[in-house]
Amino acid sequence: MTLYIIRRLLWAVLVVNVVVFITFLVFFKLPNGNPALRFVGKFPTQENIQLAEQRLHLNRPFYIEYFYFVKNFFAGDEYGWPGLGYSYGNYVSVRSEVLQRAPRTLFLIAGAATIWLIFGVAIGVLSAVRRRTAVDRAAMGFALFGISAPVFWLGLMALFLIWKKLGLTDGSGYTPIDQGIGHWFGHLILPWTVLALLYIAIYARLTRNNLLETLGEDYIRTARAKGLSERRVILKHGLRASLTPIVTIFGLDMALLVGGAIITESVFNIQGLGWLAYNGAITQDLPSVLGVVICTATAVALANLIVDILYAFLDPRVRYA
């Protein structure tokens, strides 16, 4: 198992490298205009443009810039280790930005993930057990709403109703946890819920379908034949076997949200990694984009690995060489 983990970690490093390389390729090759032009005013001379490109490390071929970036990454630069450079627009160290924003995004994801996992699975189980009854239909209907309602609408509605009209939570924005856990929670509870609603739908359906399939298996019949209570049959025998695909997807979903919760972060002004990625993309700020890309790619690779290991623990039939 240890060998397997080491192999997977090395593979993850390779994957992240490839992703970064592709980002460079896309940035340099796609015809979206020269980012240096943003910094040279209305009448740039060629010299001005070249100087700007030099400052932004854009004047050499993309693979050279890529190697320069990799070297800086591992060696560190004047902002610390790992070396991620500075944002084109405002000289802010990308590393410090990522370090400041990552906890916000991670808290957002963790909270939402907890909510959607618990509620999604619970609703799924309920639906499966009360299949085709009003409870099932209501649960699946609610799930459909969760998937269909656009996040920005849900978020704005939630803010309007629950913050503005009812005053039940803090509004948009983010308070770090060391500045008051009450406000930290008050700011996060709405975005958690809004973000979770989308995934609750998916997980409820997934759980319901998996559980229904599992409940048709022979060992469920054995469990009943043993005289076990129906609750035990469903939860201990049924759910346990249904969990493996859910765990797989869960890891991936969480990892992709690292750079992808942009809409939720925007609506609630959380100033997390999603904002950094989006702003970096539209202002052609390569260092910021790379910072988030590395975070997300690493998160995905790690999540895959963790999920696979968990899989082996959950299902003893799976063994890794």
């Binding site: 910094f39 740039p44 010299e47 924005g173 609506v267 609630f268």
Partner: protein, 617 residues
């Protein structure tokens, strides 16, 4: 109520009560707006990101929104403005200088005297001197320091040599003593004082800026102020050596800019700024809807943000909100640009016909209607001519909807048109139109297509997210685009005409003379222009026109002569050269919270005049 007398009394009583209530309300308004107090904090919600072009470094910063901040709160210049709206706000007054100098030596020499008592903020804490002014100008000239409008100052003697690294200083700027600055120009320049009011020319302390050589924009994190405010925390920064320098805590470039009072500032040296509030905070908020929610409940007092349509409508129509709703001229023209080298737009008949046929009111409606701007009738917004060209409407049509009759009439005589005035030549079909991918663009493209079809022109539309780079690349030979807009740099018409219509300054990328007015055949070859680069032939109407000589004639003039010269240029461009279809002069809309007791508009940056706004404290 059976008794009619009782009914009447009731009604009268109700009316009276209503009258009293509204009178109280009204007087409450007037009372509120006339109590201007010092103190308090002004909170400004800023949408998404600052998007500064140079992080807020005065040398390279070119963003209008930042000009408003700098001009009011951080950067004093030798001469400046009154931080108010309209023509008064576009008039040059003295700021650091004791008075506005008149040029001598045939208009080629300007001498400024620096007021005593104009100080840098902590931690520099000393009197501003001529050397500091020289330092700022040298930073602007040095291409490594990110200056974005250095081209305005090439008229200063020795500027180009210094910029090329051939001289150690700029020979045309001299310091007879520490409080006198003398500028010697290569030729008379009528708008030189306007150029000396740009923030990049404000004096900067070399002991701090020297640490940022070649790192364009990084000085912004440690900007030393000469005006009424400074970055929070700048006084804590250790400037004893470059290695010890750290960014001020109040500005992080990405999420907030907090400004507190500059303790070294002497109000007595500054008649133009009132500096009511104690603190100004610019706070990034990711969502415009959220920002205006916060303006409504007073968390923000102002916003630097797009305004959601619902909010705009609410404030524009609700009478109780009218006192928080402010509209001013944006000094910006939105226009369709036509490339004079690309058929069918190489024909002046066609370009005139386009001006007649386009439904400008419909285009404006897509942007939000009359609240968003006025219909543009010629090149430069009326405010820059002090409204002297207000009645000049060479292509006026009923309701600004365009006129088929007039358009077809204008087409007569065009080699591309038939007898009825329809563009029938093959070059009239499937002309490439470059559109952007904003929310308004699809609607605009649709209007333009419908209108142009009425004179026989059809388009192949290419939508590009971020169309400017394409339109600004000459070799792409874009015939027509609906994307452009142009705002003034300062309140002199030259900032429109020069960059937009001078053929000699056309550059391969980042070009702003999209119509290629005044381009020569050799330029065409060098810049890879396909199409028609012949000079204008009055018999056919085809070919390139030039205004280069007109520009040279107007630029040294001052006063009334200057204005009259540029008025003539606008008329000539609008009717004879016709490079554009201008369709809107945008308005700037600002919405304030109920905390704001006095609001003022700064015409220079077309931003709120932050130094002249007061809040309840």
């Amino acid at each position: 109520m059976k008794n009619p007398i009782r009914k009447l009394t009731w009604l009268v009583g109700l009316a009276a009560a209503f009258a009293v209530a509204s009178a109280m309300g009204a007087s409450a308004h007037t009372t509120a707006s006339s109590t201007i107090k010092s103190g308090g904090t002004l909170n400004v919600g800023w949408e998404q990101a600052f998007n500064f072009t140079d992080n807020g470094d005065p040398t390279g910063e070119y963003l209008g929104e930042w000009f408003g901040i700098a001009d009011n709160l951080l950067v004093r210049t030798l001469v400046g403005y009154n931080h108010t709206a309209g023509a008064a706000g576009n008039t040059i007054v003295a700021d650091i200088a004791t008075s506005v100098p008149k040029p001598t030596n045939g208009g080629k020499t300007y001498t400024f005297h620096i007021k005593q008592g104009v100080m840098f903020s902590p931690p520099v804490s000393r009197q501003v001197t001529c050397a500091d002014e020289v330092n700022a100008m040298q930073r602007l000239a040095n291409p490594k320091d990110g200056g974005q409008y250095a081209f305005y100052y090439t008229v200063i003697k020795g500027w180009d040599s210094y910029a090329a690294g051939k001289a150690k200083s700029i020979s045309g700027i001299s310091c007879p003593n520490s409080s006198t600055v003398v500028f010697n120009l290569t030729q008379p320049t009528g708008d030189f004082l306007f150029r000396m009011a740009m923030p990049a020319t404000g004096p900067q302390p070399a002991e701090v800026t020297k640490c940022f050589e070649g790192q364009a924009g990084k000085y912004a994190l440690d900007l030393i102020s000469t005006a009424g405010y400074m970055y929070q925390g700048i006084d804590q920064v250790d400037i004893s050596s470059c290695s010890k320098l750290k960014p001020a805590s109040g500005y992080d470039g990405q999420t907030q800019m907090i400004l507190v009072r500059n303790p070294n500032y002497k109000q007595s040296t500054d008649p133009t700024r009132k500096n009511y509030v104690d603190e100004v905070r610019f706070l990034i908020d990711a969502s415009d809807v959220d920002i205006y929610n916060k303006v409504e409940n007073g968390t923000f007092d102002l916003a630097e943000s797009t305004i959601p349509n619902t909010v705009l409508k609410k404030y524009a129509t609700d009478p109780s909100l009218k006192s928080h709703f402010f509209q001013n001229s944006g000094d910006r023209t939105w226009y369709l640009t036509m490339n004079m080298t690309q058929p069918p737009f190489d024909d002046v008949h066609v370009r005139r016909a386009m001006n007649w046929i386009i439904d400008k009111a419909a285009l404006r409606q897509i942007w939000g209607g009359p609240t968003v701007g006025d219909i543009a009738n010629h090149i430069v917004p009326d405010t820059l001519f002090n409204f002297k060209l207000q009645e000049y409407k060479p292509y006026q049509t009923a309701g600004d909807h365009g006129s088929v009759t007039k358009a077809r009439l204008a087409m007569k005589g065009s080699p591309y048109a038939d007898k009825t005035g329809m563009c029938t030549a093959s070059v009239c079909k499937n002309v490439l139109l470059i559109a952007d991918a904003r929310a308004v663009d699809p609607g605009m493209v649709s209007v333009i297509q419908q209108d142009a079809a009425k004179i026989g022109i059809t388009f192949t539309v290419r939508t590009i997210n971020g169309a400017y780079p394409t339109v600004q690349t000459v070799a792409k030979n874009v015939p027509i685009s609906e994307r452009p807009g142009w705002g003034k740099d300062y309140a002199d018409p030259v900032t429109f005409f020069e960059p937009l219509f001078d053929g000699r300054t056309i550059i391969p990328t980042g070009n702003t003379n999209y119509s290629l007015v005044g381009i020569t055949k050799s330029q065409c070859t060098k810049l890879k222009v396909t199409g028609d680069c012949n000079t204008y032939n009055p018999k056919t109407g085809l070919g390139v026109l030039s205004v280069n000589s007109m520009l040279d004639k107007c630029s040294p003039l001052t006063g009334t002569a200057r204005t009259v010269c540029y008025e003539g240029m606008d008329k000539y461009l609008s009717t004879q050269v016709v490079p554009w279809v201008p369709w809107m002069w945008s308005k700037v809309t600002r919405i304030t919270s109920s905390n704001v007791t006095h609001y003022q508009f700064d015409q220079f940056g077309t931003t709120p005049a932050y130094a002249m706004i007061s809040v309840k404290s």
